[in-house]
């Protein structure tokens, strides 16, 4: 089983087949579900030795059991719950491109990714998945002797945030899928994030431990108590270094405040409060208080027969702690000022663009429903994503957006089939780059789109294994809407609608983006000069 091969980088023993070994040395590796069984053994072999699972192993949605494994320090990077299932950490690496554009790096995440979020410095990247797990990646600046590698994102911590629950009153199962993750600004050594499923929000503390105490008087090293009679002297316990251990612990659980499914959470700039929004209500919480929340928006009609719209997303203004917006399924955005009244049912501003009557179809209401709203970093603009377009609004102008970008207008004639296969209900997210000059959103066929606001140009890129290798420049793609298809263009009919990119995130300062396809997480980076 064991071979002589050892990784040149980390020295771990590697006992996989030659192909995998060479790929391992080359620092990236993709494994399919089929080869998980092979991995099990090898993981066990080197897991003990390495805290840093240097293997650029990409494990698509798979867990496997640690059987008889002594997982003390070694597994702390990825396993918090060694009892049942473990996640092998995947190491993500960024490789800089020698030329223009970005480079790919492949990583994988178990299960379908449902949210992606950078923290405020960009050092940490959190992903949530459908199984209720959160995986946090940390950026590490590469050492100097390999300058072409700019930075790596390694798995930093993995934990099970939410479990499936059952609501006995309504006989409903509550999904454990993580709908949103939001980081809190860092105040001390520990990191905090909020993660939410359909009903419950949890505040998690992620802390590092790299020292442990040794030399207790009353306890042995393994924890057993000493016989007091055997103690002859006293000593002061000392802290000795140990392998880095990252622990995640739930500090607060905010539950039972939402009747409908939570779709958004947003941390206020005052660092004390946050909001959570479901289909009909928005609640304001204090981060310290879990048994009480204030309802600030309630659009539930007295008679449910008159229900015409639901809340689809909500966000606090990044700078003004009294302002927040919420978007609706009718394509409107309401800006509310919490100073005006306790209940913010009356909006301060209503952003709405009149519908183009020539485009009316059976599905007009569906495609005008806003799936995401994001403020720009400077707080002057906000961006909304509906099914076919991205719109940028100036907060001072309510009548229409200042910019509109078509993401995949060629789908307008396909709405019927998209309705039949439920794709028309997909909720795409969007994001700004650090200086608010470029916006990005996802599409189908693993394409994602970037719109440069200043230069008025847009780009379509693809996140896929086949088309992306390390050190390779990403080639812009083009979809042929009709007529003669040019070489290298993809025709609309050959798009794969099962491969969708719903979640994207942009590093707050650098040009590093995280793009989540169904099972995989891709991190791209701008070229390094």
């Amino acid at each position: 089983m064991d071979s002589d091969f050892s990784c040149s980088r980390c020295g771990c023993p590697d006992n996989r087949d030659p192909l995998q070994q060479s790929l391992h040395s080359a620092r990236w590796l993709m494994m399919d579900r089929g080869s998980v069984n092979n991995i099990t053994m090898s993981v066990k072999a080197y897991a003990v030795k390495n805290t840093d699972f240097c293997l650029c192993l990409c494990l698509p949605s798979f867990y496997f059991k640690w059987v008889g494994q002594n997982d003390t320090h070694a597994t702390n990077r990825c396993l918090q719950n060694a009892a049942l299932l473990s996640v092998l950490s995947a190491k993500l690496r960024l490789v800089a491109a020698p030329q223009e554009m970005q480079l790919i790096f492949l990583g994988a995440k178990p299960d379908i990714i449902s949210t992606v979020e950078f923290n405020h410095t960009g050092e940490l990247l959190a992903t949530g998945d459908k199984g209720g797990r959160v995986v946090i990646f940390q950026q590490e600046i590469e050492n100097k002797n390999q300058p072409q590698f700019r930075s790596e994102y390694n798995v930093y911590s993995t934990f099970q945030s939410h479990e499936p629950e059952f609501d006995y009153l309504k006989s409903l199962e509550i999904e454990e899928k993580i709908n949103k993750i939001r980081w809190l600004p860092q105040k001390n050594a520990a990191q905090f994030l909020l993660s939410t499923n359909d009903k419950t929000i949890k505040l998690w503390k992620i802390s590092e431990r790299d020292k442990r105490p040794e030399g207790y008087n009353l306890k042995e090293e393994d924890g057993r108590y000493k016989d007091p009679n055997t103690i002859t002297g006293l000593r002061v316990p000392v802290l000795i270094p140990m392998d880095l251990m990252v622990e995640a612990s739930p500090r607060r659980v905010f539950a039972n405040a939402h009747t409908y499914h939570i779709n958004s959470i947003s941390v206020n700039s005052d660092d004390e409060t946050y909001l959570s929004a479901d289909d009909l209500r928005i609640n304001l919480w204090n981060l310290e208080i879990t048994d009480r929340s204030f309802n600030i928006v309630d659009i539930k009609p007295a008679n449910m027969e008159e229900l015409t719209e639901v809340i689809t997303a909500a966000e606090f203004h990044p700078l003004q702690c009294n302002t927040f917006v919420y978007s609706s399924s009718k394509g409107t955005i309401r800006l509310c000022d919490m100073r005006a009244s306790a209940l913010c049912d009356k909006h301060s501003k209503l952003f709405e663009e009149p519908e183009d009557p020539s485009n009316r179809s059976f599905f007009s209401e569906i495609i005008s429903s806003i799936s995401d709203v994001k403020f720009s970093h400077n707080g002057r603009y906000m961006m909304t994503r509906d099914y076919l377009s991205v719109k940028i609004w100036d907060l001072n102008m309510e009548s229409r957006p200042v910019e509109t970008y078509q993401v995949h207008e060629y789908l307008r004639s396909k709405l019927c089939s998209l309705y039949e296969n439920d794709c028309i209900f997909d909720k795409f997210e969007c994001c700004w780059n650090g200086d608010d000059s470029v916006v990005m959103t996802g599409s189908y066929n693993n394409f994602f789109r970037m719109f440069d606001r200043g230069q008025r140009r847009d780009m379509t890129l693809e996140a896929s294994r086949e088309n992306s290798k390390p050190m390779q420049v990403l080639k812009p793609r083009k979809v042929c809407a009709g007529g003669k298809r040019k070489k290298d263009e993809i025709s609309v009919d050959s798009l794969d609608f099962n491969k969708k990119i719903l979640h994207t995130a942009w590093h707050p300062q650098d040009n590093i983006i995280a793009v989540a396809t169904t099972n995989n997480l891709y991190i791209f980076q701008d070229k390094v000069n």
Binding site: T312, S364, S369
Partner: protein, 304 residues
């Protein structure tokens, strides 16, 4: 106006697809998605608007060719979105019933039901059953959608009884309990009569060979994903054989599905009654009445 040109499917199949989605969403994990169902109800409303508009155009055309109607006896197709409606009062009653869960169940609509066999439209909760034997020639198309509803019909004896009973609706096939997510109010809708309606209508239609074709246009039976061509053949066999019980089985739908669908139907029954406008009074089929039932849909959706 809704531009239907680009759409490959027509309003009717869109409606059936939408209803199937709503039905499926009831059983999916995590509970009913309010947002998605709201959007589905918008599609339903749009499709209905288009359908009703087309229907009126057709009615108008058909009135021009009245003599042709009398000739056609054979059932070629069935159309559920029949314009024949029950009374507004029936609808009101139904809505009130569903809302308050009181005893005035949709079953007891009796009285003013029009004489046309409402047939099929299991999904559309044939709200009023043919009460008596005399019928006007039916100029409209009928349609079988989810005939599985009829599958759950009470035994044949029931159906024999039914023509006799005029809307007493004493047999209750089903009760449906709906729970408002928010107020936790439990409402019980009695929908047994709807069930029987469906069966009865079906049989009546079968027996009388009702249905008509317009000389101007023949509508093909368009099934949604569920049905197949064999169904159509079998349907026609049923008609000819005048079988007592509906024997068409729906591929892919087992018995539990039928009960679910019938529940769905019952809930929608009161709402869909708004779909059907008055036969006698074309002018009166104004958007008020039709759109008034939108609320019933929404309520039905939300009330799961």
């Amino acid at each position: 106006m809704i531009n239907t040109m680009e759409c490959a499917v027509d309003a009717q199949s869109l409606i059936s697809i939408s209803l199937m989605k709503i039905h499926n969403s009831r059983t999916q994990r995590g509970g009913i998605k309010l947002h998605q169902n709201l959007l589905l109800s918008y599609v339903l409303r749009n499709a209905r608007q288009v359908y009703v508009k087309e229907k009126y155009a057709e009615i108008y055309r058909m009135q021009q060719y009245e003599e042709v109607m009398a000739v056609c006896n054979e059932i070629q197709e069935l159309d559920p979105l029949d314009v024949d409606a029950e009374d507004a009062e029936d609808e009101e009653q139904a809505r009130r019933a569903a809302r308050c869960g009181d005893e005035a169940s949709p079953c007891h609509r009796g009285g003013g039901a029009p004489t046309h066999g409402r047939a099929a439209a299991a999904l559309f909760g044939c709200s009023s059953a043919p009460e008596d034997g005399s019928r006007e020639p039916d100029p409209y198309y009928y349609y079988y959608y989810y005939r599985s509803c009829c599958m759950e019909a009470p035994p044949a004896s029931h159906c024999e009884q039914l023509p006799a009973s005029t809307g007493t609706g004493t047999q209750h096939c089903n009760k449906t309990t709906v729970l408002d997510l928010d107020t936790h109010v439990v409402t019980t809708v009695e929908n047994g009569y709807l069930h029987q309606d469906c069966c009865r209508c079906g049989y009546d239609a079968l027996q009388r060979g009702q249905g008509a074709q317009s000389a101007a246009r023949k509508r093909k039976v368009e099934f949604s994903c569920c049905a197949s061509e064999e169904e159509v053949e079998e349907l026609q066999d049923c008609k000819r054989a005048k079988r007592e019980e509906s024997s068409c089985s729906f591929p892919g739908l087992d018995y539990t599905d039928t009960s679910n669908i019938s529940n769905l139907i019952s809930i929608f029954g009161s709402g869909f009654s708004g779909l059907l406008s008055r036969h006698a009074d074309l002018e009166q089929v104004c958007s008020q009445q039709v759109l008034a039932s939108l609320g019933a849909w929404t309520r039905a959706i939300v009330a799961f």
